[in-house]
Amino acid sequence: MKIAESMTLTPERGFQEYEIDCTEAELQLDLKEDCELFVRITKASALKIKARLNEGIRASVLFWNDSKDPLVANESYEVGDYGDLTVAYGECNDASTKRKTDILLKGKESRAMLSSASLVNTNKEYRMDLENSGVRSIGNIRNYAVVLKNGKLMIDAIGKINKGAKKAQSHQTSRALAFEEGQNATILPELLIDENDVQASHAMSIGKVNESHLYYMMSRGLDMKQCTMLISEGYLLPITDYISDEKLRSALKDELERKIEGSCLM
């Protein structure tokens, strides 16, 4: 289904596919049924999304950026009691992206996973705010990126636990493989915690392929490019796991593999 410039969507139960193909789009998402959404962005320069996940609903949205034009996106999500939301981004196109994502875990025992996979050969800039207000709410951020020669990645990922969100959890992992000397990848993981009884963690790595890993893989006959490709696939392909439809998942995997193979990884 194509999405027009401004509309309110109330997806039905199950798997739904959408396409955003207009310069400016403003989307209101009312998630009232358990659903899995795949949103292909074929063209959009300004995208606004406001979404609300109702009580006890489980929903996932994978945004697949195919746009040839630079994209500026502003998205905000609110998760009700016992809701379980996944927002994932496949960012492997050749145009720049500037995105701000806010997720508020408002309800008790609400959960959210905010995940991205980026093959970066231009500017990609993400600001992610995942805020826990609900008791026992769990927030997860996972960013995986392969930064190519002319790419520039900037991720500002903030996990915030508000006062009163007892036993809340905020976790994040960000990893970027970079092939250039110097900083063309910046990841700022932040945890802002205003409650005592919580769990929080972050893990981050930026850099070239580990030399010992490379030696081990090469000792089995793979050259440098093949090693880097396998590792890059390991970084990026898991984003397709958010799609349970097998045909679409394997098509997306093929698309990613082709892009990784076609890019200059050295």
Binding site: E211, Y215, M217, S219, R220, G221, L222, G234
Partner: protein, 277 residues
Amino acid sequence: MKNLMIKDLHVSAEDKEIIKGIDLEIEEGSSHVLMGPNGNGKSTLLAAIMGDPRFTVTQGSITYDGKDILSMPVNERSIAGIFLGMQYPQEIPGVTNSDFLRAAMNVRRERPVSLFEFIKSMDKAIADMRLSEDLAHRFLNEGFSGGEKKRNEIIQMEMLKPSLAMLDEIDSGLDVDAIKLVADAINRIREESNMSLIIVSHYERFLEYVRPEFTHVLVDGKIVVSGGRDLYEKVDSEGYDWIYKEYGIEPRFEAKNNERVSIGTCAVKDTLKGDMF
């Protein structure tokens, strides 16, 4: 003949010489064990043959099948038929065992291995090592126990079919049953092919199963004595002291005496005292 010829080999790590002149010939199809106290160069020798970037060959030559392997990158040495089962196999998250092995098989074949053939041979290799089927889909060595990692090295060896296998303490971390499994796999491959073998091992039980024909004892970066099976049996029962005596040599012990670093602190204290009085 696919022989490995090592001549006057000197190897350094961070400007410290570890291998101090080794000559060794491994004839195609022969089997050898390297013995010697820890920290005297056994692993370094194998690593230098494979091309481990942590080590630098400063002198001498290594040829395999007549080709100068020191001028080859690591992957080409592997394609030439050399395999190193590592003492500490790396964990590589994100890369599955099966993707990795399939890619490694394909680089040494003209036509890529069919998915069916690959799965069949991988399942067999995994079953031979009594590991669970899901190993193929797990990330390369990630979260594996020490023993699982070692068995995974043998799975890779079985599937890549090297002509020269070097196994660096493959038996450490394995229990008694697994040692037998690994030894059986090595023996089976050697019966089926003409694979040459160099192993580093301290365990008599493992050596009893594999029964290498030649023994070399490395002390302080040199092969001080070579012999047949009787030599590893003698080392096994009597240790190395008789070798040190007979050849008038001293082993190099690993620098594990960290406590002695405190000498520096004492010296500083002494100096201070000197200044004060």
